[in-house]
């Protein structure tokens, strides 16, 4: 679906993106993470045909973004982090303009506009003026515009930035729905916990270089990091500690007897976690809860990056 091979962008003496290589399969949700100025937006703009790469190649569905940008534009949907809307334009008129810009026949436009408005839950705002919409609604409208021509690849640059918690949740639900529809999504975001349970793969970029990519599992493995498990048992925390410390994949155990919980620093994969829990149950430990810490992606990000910019 998407192939980036040594993609590079330099501005005079500044290398914004440095030999970035990546491969995405159809239906994959790729979370692109990095500090401000790392090169995320430049990368997305190169794929969206808005910035010409200095070197390397980017191909969408095996079509080069440099050689055939018009063909690529027909199959991608790009949502920028900052976008402007026209004053004095109603929601449906805004969508109708972009539908015509994507060469959608006039007869098909009303149905398509109704479909994307329903998908983005903006049906009730069909006749509202765009300038009257809240920030979250404008973001959803921009996403609706991005979906009009049924793109196979969605490039979303910080779609949740500047949104309040409710709007973020709504945006996340919308993206989940798009995932269920089989869209391939390339998304950059700062909200790591949201990406962690949503993306199939992630990439971490710093100073223009992709320093890690793959599933969260793979990155944990690549970087030699441990995952944090929180286990709660109704009794016998000492026994739990003994069993855990016997396991070679357990690096550290911290007990909290007041809440009957222990935090385990664990270097294994998901199958190993399952084996560990089975072992506890087999030894008669009454496990009430076993949760992997949701902040794993944040931990990975903080440990892998150094806060450098391109």
């Amino acid at each position: 679906m998407l192939d980036l091979v040594n993609l590079t962008k330099t501005y005079r003496d500044l290398t914004a993106v440095d030999s970035l290589s990546l491969h995405l399969e159809p239906g994959e949700i790729f979370g692109f993470i990095g500090p401000n100025g790392a090169g995320k937006t430049t990368t997305i703009k190169m794929i969206a045909t808005l910035v010409r790469p200095t070197d390397g190649e980017a191909r969408v569905n095996d079509i080069s973004v440099v050689a055939h940008p018009e063909q690529v534009r027909a199959i991608i949907g790009y949502m920028p982090d900052y976008f402007g809307v026209y004053d004095d334009v109603r929601v449906w008129e805004y969508l109708d303009f972009f539908a015509s810009a994507y060469r959608i026949p006039r007869a098909d436009r009303p149905r398509l506009i109704a479909d994307v408005l329903e998908l983005t839950d903006l049906n009730v705002k069909r006749n509202a003026f765009v300038e009257e919409l809240s920030r979250g609604m404008k973001q959803r409208l921009c996403l609706a515009k991005t979906l009009l021509h049924d793109p196979v690849l969605l490039l979303l640059d910080e779609p949740a930035s500047g949104l309040d918690p409710r709007a973020r949740i709504e945006m996340r639900e919308l993206l989940r729905q798009l995932r269920r529809m089989g869209k391939t999504i390339f998304i950059s975001s700062h909200i790591l916990t949201e990406l962690a349970d949503f993306c199939t793969t992630i990439g971490i970029i710093e100073a223009g270089r992709l320093i890690a990519s793959g599933s969260v599992e793979e990155i944990i493995k690549q970087t030699g990091l441990t995952r944090t498990l929180e286990i709660r048992a109704t009794q016998g925390l000492e026994l739990v500690e003994t069993i855990l410390r016997d396991n070679p994949l357990v690096h550290d155990v911290v007990l909290d007897s007041e809440s009957d919980r222990c935090q385990v620093s664990f270097a294994g994969e998901l199958d190993d976690v399952a084996d560990l829990l089975k072992c506890l149950l087999d030894r008669g430990v009454r496990v009430v809860q076993a949760v992997e810490s949701a902040s794993d992606l944040e931990d990975i990000f903080l440990r892998v990056t150094r806060g450098q910019v391109a």
Partner: protein, 270 residues
């Protein structure tokens, strides 16, 4: 291809609709049109009375019609300068670049959007001019004034759009647009004043020389009965041709340089 640019151009369609929406939102079509007409009439009458030294008889003379061109010369560069630079400033340009619109559609659509206002003002102004100057019919010079004024506006809009495409900021685009408008539209006539005082030209010759070079000279040549009688009409038509060619050349240059100025190579920030 060229017909499609005008009759099947989403940008042009959008620009025209947007202007109609602006008028509608002001409270129905009748009210804004009446307002435009009234405001223009007041501005026009004030200007010709000022130019005629508060003499109503002189004010009714056709030689003052050129002030009409001057008013539009001040309106068009502001609109054209914002057509691209303004869109980029508010982030509305980039989403259009990733659609399937061609550079020609974008540029011609924006240009036509700018030209909607002068066209509307010119058409609305005709009855106002007839009423305020109390002439019994619609004189030939006024009828000819419509294409002359439109050509002038088109030329200035083309130049201002060129500035808009080249400049990174809206403010710079406005500065360059009005600077070049002054240089193109007014400076040649102003330059004839010292030339005349130094006896390099007489007034009629000066006007005839500047007519093809600037809209003000063109308008004076067109509407001043004295210079008209001396056969300066061809100079005025040459001015129309110059301005139309200027507009076409400017648009062609923007379309030709679309990629480095407005497209993929225009992005300079990471």
């Amino acid at each position: 291809m060229s017909a499609a640019l005008l009759f099947d151009n989403p940008v042009l369609d959008h620009e025209v609709r947007q202007r109609v929406r602006v008028l509608r939102r002001l409270g129905g079509v009748g009210l804004p049109m009446g307002l435009c007409l009234g405001l223009f009439a007041v501005a026009y009458i004030a200007l010709i009375f000022f130019l005629a030294g508060h003499d109503a008889n002189t004010a009714r003379g056709e030689d003052n019609v050129c002030s009409f061109v001057v008013l539009l010369c001040l309106l068009v560069p502001g609109l054209a300068a914002g057509s691209i630079a303004g869109e980029r400033r508010r982030g509305a340009w980039e989403p259009m670049l990733v659609t399937r619109l061609t550079p020609a559609e974008l540029i011609v659509g924006k240009f036509a959007g700018v030209m909607v206002w002068p066209l509307l003002v010119i058409l609305l102004a005709q009855p106002v001019l007839l009423m305020t100057t109390q002439v019994p019919d619609w004189p030939l010079t006024w009828r000819a004034g419509v294409p002359i004024t439109l050509a002038t506006c088109a030329g200035l809009a083309g130049v201002s759009m060129l500035c808009s495409a080249r400049c990174r900021s809206h403010r710079a685009a406005l500065t360059w647009s009005y600077g070049l408008t002054f240089a193109l539209a007014f400076a040649p006539v102003l330059l004839t004043i010292p030339a005349e005082s130094l006896h390099l030209f007489n007034a009629d010759r000066a006007i005839a020389v500047t007519a093809p070079l600037c809209p003000l000279g063109m308008a004076i040549a067109m509407f001043d009965p004295a210079t008209l009688a001396k056969g300066s009409l061809p100079f005025a038509w040459a001015g129309v041709a110059v301005y139309l060619v200027l507009a076409v050349v400017c648009l062609a240059v923007i379309i030709q340089h679309f990629e480095p100025w407005l497209g993929r190579d225009a992005q300079r920030s990471a």
